[in-house]
C-alpha cells in the first residue's frame, strides 16, 4: 500500500488547481449570486485537456490514472461544484462509458472529439416521473428500419443546454422494465430535439441544469451503444464512474469548508479570545478533518480498483455516500462557525452548503446508497460479470491484458 502520490499525479493536481484558482475562483461568488453560467470555462477546460484526463491517449485523452482524475475533481469542486459536474457528466457518465461499451467506430466518432474537448457531452437518464427507479423510465424508442423513433422527456440533466452529445436511455417495451432499455447517442441538431433550463435551483447556480425533450427524433441504429436490452447495465456502469467523480469532488468541498472555517476561527474573536479556542468549535473542525481524510481514503481505494480494471460498484457507492454526507455536514458546520456572516454570501460557505446538498440526491440518493451497502453486507446483492468490463487505466492496460 503506497499512500504517496507520484510526481505525475501531483503535477496534474497542481495544474488543475492553478486553472480553477485563476480562472474561476475570483468570479464564482458573483456568478453564483447572479445565476450566471459561463460555458467558456468549459471550453477552456477542454483546450487544456482536462475533459479527456482519464481517457487513453489513443482516443485523444490524457491517459492519466484514476488517482489523478480524483485529484482533478477534488481541486475543481474546492472552487465550485459546477466545475466538477462537468467532469461527472462529460467524462464520468458519458466518455468513460463510451470507452467501456462503444464499438471502435463509435469511439472514433464520439469519444475522440469529447476527449479532445472539441465536443461536450452529457448523460440523460432521469425523467420527470423516474429518478431512483431508473428501470421505470418512460421515454420510448420504437424501431423503424435503420432508425429508432424517440419520444419523451429527460429532466434534471446537467449541461442539457450546452452538450453536443447526449447519452440517452429509453425503453423499447415498458413492460420489460430494466430489460427493455437501450442506450442511444443523440446529437444536438437532430430534428425534434429541444432543451431548456431549470431555474430556481438551491445550488449549482453557476451551472447548467435543464431538460431535454424528444419529439419523433430519428436516431440511426448505429447510434445505439451496446445491445438492445443492455441499456440498464450500461447506465449502472456509467454511474460507477459518475459517482466516483462526485465522491472525489466532495472531498474538495469538505477541504474548502475546512479551510474557510480555520481561517475564520483565527480571525474572529468572542469573549476575549479567537473562536478557534472554544472546544465546541474545535469539535466541528475535528469532524471536518476526519470527514475529509476518511472520504479521500475511500475515493483513493476506489481509484486503485479502477486503475486495475477491477469491479468497484460497492466501493464507489460507499465513497460517494460517505463523502457527500460528510461534505454537507462540513459545509453546514462551516456556516455555524461563521455565525451570521456564514448566512450571507459575503463568505463562500453558504454556497458550499447549497452545492453540497444536491450531491446527497443525485448519482444515487443517500437512501439508495444505504440500500446498496446493506444489500452487499447482507448477501442480497452481488455483482455479475459484465459483457464489457470497466477497462483499466492506460498505464495498467498491458498488465491487465497479460493477466487474462
Amino acid at each position: 500500500m503506497d499512500f504517496e502520490y507520484t510526481s505525475e499525479q501531483i503535477q496534474v493536481r497542481d495544474m488543475v488547481r492553478e486553472f480553477a484558482q485563476r480562472e474561476v475562483a475570483p468570479y464564482i461568488q458573483e456568478w453564483d449570486a447572479k445565476g450566471e453560467y459561463h460555458p467558456e470555462v468549459l471550453y477552456k477546460m477542454g483546450s487544456l485537456g482536462i475533459l479527456g484526463l482519464p481517457i487513453p491517449e489513443r482516443y485523444g485523452g490524457g491517459g492519466f490514472d484514476y488517482v489523478s482524475f480524483a485529484l482533478a475533481c477534488e481541486e475543481l469542486e474546492a472552487v465550485d461544484t459546477f466545475l466538477r459536474v462537468v467532469m461527472s457528466v462529460h467524462v464520468g457518465l458519458n466518455s468513460l462509458t463510451l470507452h467501456q461499451w462503444a464499438t471502435e467506430e463509435q469511439k472514433q466518432r464520439w469519444l475522440v472529439p469529447q476527449a479532445k474537448g472539441e465536443k461536450l457531452a452529457t448523460f440523460g437518464l432521469t425523467e420527470p416521473g423516474a429518478g431512483s427507479d431508473a428501470g421505470n423510465i418512460q421515454t420510448r424508442a420504437v424501431r423503424d428500419g435503420d432508425y429508432y423513433i424517440l419520444n419523451g422527456e429527460k429532466m434534471w440533466i446537467s449541461l442539457a443546454n450546452t452538450a453536443d452529445h447526449f447519452l440517452v436511455f429509453a425503453t423499447l417495451d415498458p413492460s420489460k422494465k430494466h430489460h427493455g432499455l437501450i442506450a442511444l447517442v443523440v446529437e444536438r441538431g437532430m430534428e425534434g430535439l429541444t432543451t431548456g433550463s431549470i431555474k430556481g435551483k438551491l445550488g449549482v447556480r453557476a451551472g447548467d441544469t435543464g431538460w431535454i425533450n424528444f419529439q419523433n427524433v430519428r436516431v440511426p441504429v448505429e447510434n445505439r451503444i451496446g445491445e438492445e436490452g443492455e441499456g440498464f447495465k450500461i447506465a449502472m456502469s456509467a454511474i460507477d464512474q459518475g459517482r466516483f467523480t462526485v465522491a472525489a469532488g466532495a472531498v474538495g468541498l469538505i477541504r474548502a469548508a475546512k479551510e474557510a472555517s480555520i481561517k475564520y476561527c483565527h480571525e474572529r474573536e468572542a469573549f476575549g479570545q479567537e473562536i478557534g479556542k472554544f472546544e465546541l468549535v474545535q469539535q466541528m473542525i475535528a469532524n471536518m478533518v476526519a470527514g475529509e481524510e476518511a472520504s479521500r481514503l475511500l475515493v483513493m481505494r476506489a481509484a486503485e480498483l479502477k486503475n486495475r480494471g477491477i469491479r468497484n460498484t460497492r466501493e464507489t457507492s460507499l465513497a460517494k455516500w460517505f463523502a457527500c454526507d460528510r461534505a454537507f455536514e462540513a459545509a453546514n458546520d462551516a456556516i455555524q462557525i461563521h455565525g451570521a456572516y456564514g448566512y450571507s454570501n459575503e463568505y463562500p460557505v453558504e454556497r458550499y452548503m447549497r452545492n453540497a446538498r444536491g450531491a446527497v440526491i443525485y448519482e444515487g440518493t443517500r437512501e439508495i446508497h444505504q440500500l446498496i451497502q446493506a444489500g452487499y453486507a447482507l448477501g442480497y446483492r452481488t455483482d455479475r460479470p459484465l459483457r464489457c468490463p470497466q477497462p483499466p487505466a492506460q498505464a495498467w492496460e498491458s498488465e491487465v491484458a497479460s493477466r487474462s
Partner: protein, 255 residues
C-alpha cells in the same frame, strides 16, 4: 543550441521545521524543486520558444526524480541525474566538480542555474562551475534576451540593474525576478512520459575515487538563544504609549 539547466531537489521551504533534538530539519520533509532553478528552467524554455532549434537538458545531482519529471513536463527535452549518495552529500566544490564532469561530457552553449539553493544557500555552485569550465558567469540575473547569437543580460545590483552583453558559452544564475515559471500543462505532463532520464554514477563520469571528499563539512544546526528581552506596552492608551516609546529610544540615543 544546447541549454543545460541545473536543478536541485530541496526540502520544501514552506514545510521545513527545525528538530532541535536531531540538530537538523525534521526528517520526512516534503521535497520540491529549488525555486530559483525553476526560473532558470523557465528562461531556457522561453529561449526555445523564441528560437526553435534548442535542446534543453535538465541536470541534477542527488535524489531528484520528481523535480526532473517536473522539468520535463515544463518543457525540457531530457534529463540526466547523478544518483551518487557520496557526491550528493559533498560540499559545494564537490557538487561543482561532479556537475562540471557531466557538462564536459554533455557539451553546452549555455548553462542556466538558480542563484542559490534554499537549503545549502551558498550561491557558489554557478561561479565554481564557471572557474572549472572556464566560461564567464553572470550572477543575480533578472532579465535575459538572446539575439543574433549574443546575450543581453540584466543583473540585479544594489539600487538598480547592470546591463551585460556577452557571447555564449556562459553561465547565468537566475533570480526569481527573471520570469514566472509555468505550471506544466497536461500535454506537457503527457509528453514527459516519453522523455528520457539518464542516470549516471561517479564511475560513469570518470571521477576519481577521492572526488567526493569534502573540505567543508556541515555541523549541527541550532537556534540562537534570545539575548535581550523586549518591552511590551500593554493596557496603555496610544498617546502615552508613543511618549514612552520615544523616551525609550531617546534614552538609548536611537533617535
Amino acid at each position: 543550441m544546447k541549454i543545460v539547466v541545473l536543478v536541485k531537489q530541496v526540502p520544501d521551504p514552506n514545510a521545513v521545521r527545525f528538530d532541535p533534538r536531531a540538530g537538523d530539519i525534521q526528517s520526512g520533509t516534503p521535497q520540491v524543486a529549488n525555486e530559483y532553478d525553476l526560473h532558470a528552467m523557465e528562461a531556457a524554455i522561453q529561449i526555445k520558444e523564441q528560437q526553435g532549434d534548442v535542446e534543453i537538458v535538465a541536470v541534477s545531482l542527488g535524489q531528484a526524480r520528481e523535480t526532473l519529471n517536473r522539468c520535463l513536463a515544463m518543457g525540457a527535452d531530457r534529463a540526466i541525474v547523478v544518483e551518487d549518495a557520496a557526491l550528493a552529500s559533498g560540499d559545494s566544490a564537490v557538487t561543482a566538480k561532479a556537475l562540471a564532469a557531466v557538462l564536459r561530457a554533455e557539451g553546452f552553449d549555455l548553462i542556466l542555474v538558480g542563484q542559490e539553493t534554499s537549503d545549502g544557500g551558498t550561491g557558489s555552485v554557478g561561479p565554481a562551475l564557471a572557474a572549472l569550465l572556464d566560461v564567464p558567469v553572470v550572477s543575480n540575473v533578472v532579465a535575459l534576451e538572446k539575439q543574433d547569437g549574443r546575450l543581453t543580460v540584466q543583473r540585479e545590483i544594489e539600487d538598480g540593474r547592470q546591463v551585460i552583453d556577452l557571447a555564449p558559452p556562459a553561465i547565468l544564475c537566475a533570480l526569481s525576478g527573471l520570469n514566472e515559471p509555468r505550471y506544466p500543462s497536461l500535454k506537457g505532463i503527457m509528453a514527459a512520459r516519453r522523455k528520457p532520464t539518464e542516470a549516471k554514477s561517479a564511475a560513469d563520469l570518470g571521477l576519481a575515487d577521492d572526488a567526493a571528499q569534502s573540505r567543508v563539512s556541515w555541523g549541527q544546526l541550532f537556534v540562537e538563544e534570545e539575548t535581550a528581552e523586549g518591552i511590551i506596552l500593554k493596557d496603555v492608551d496610544a498617546d502615552s504609549a508613543v511618549d514612552q516609546l520615544v523616551a525609550f529610544l531617546q534614552e538609548r540615543k536611537l533617535v
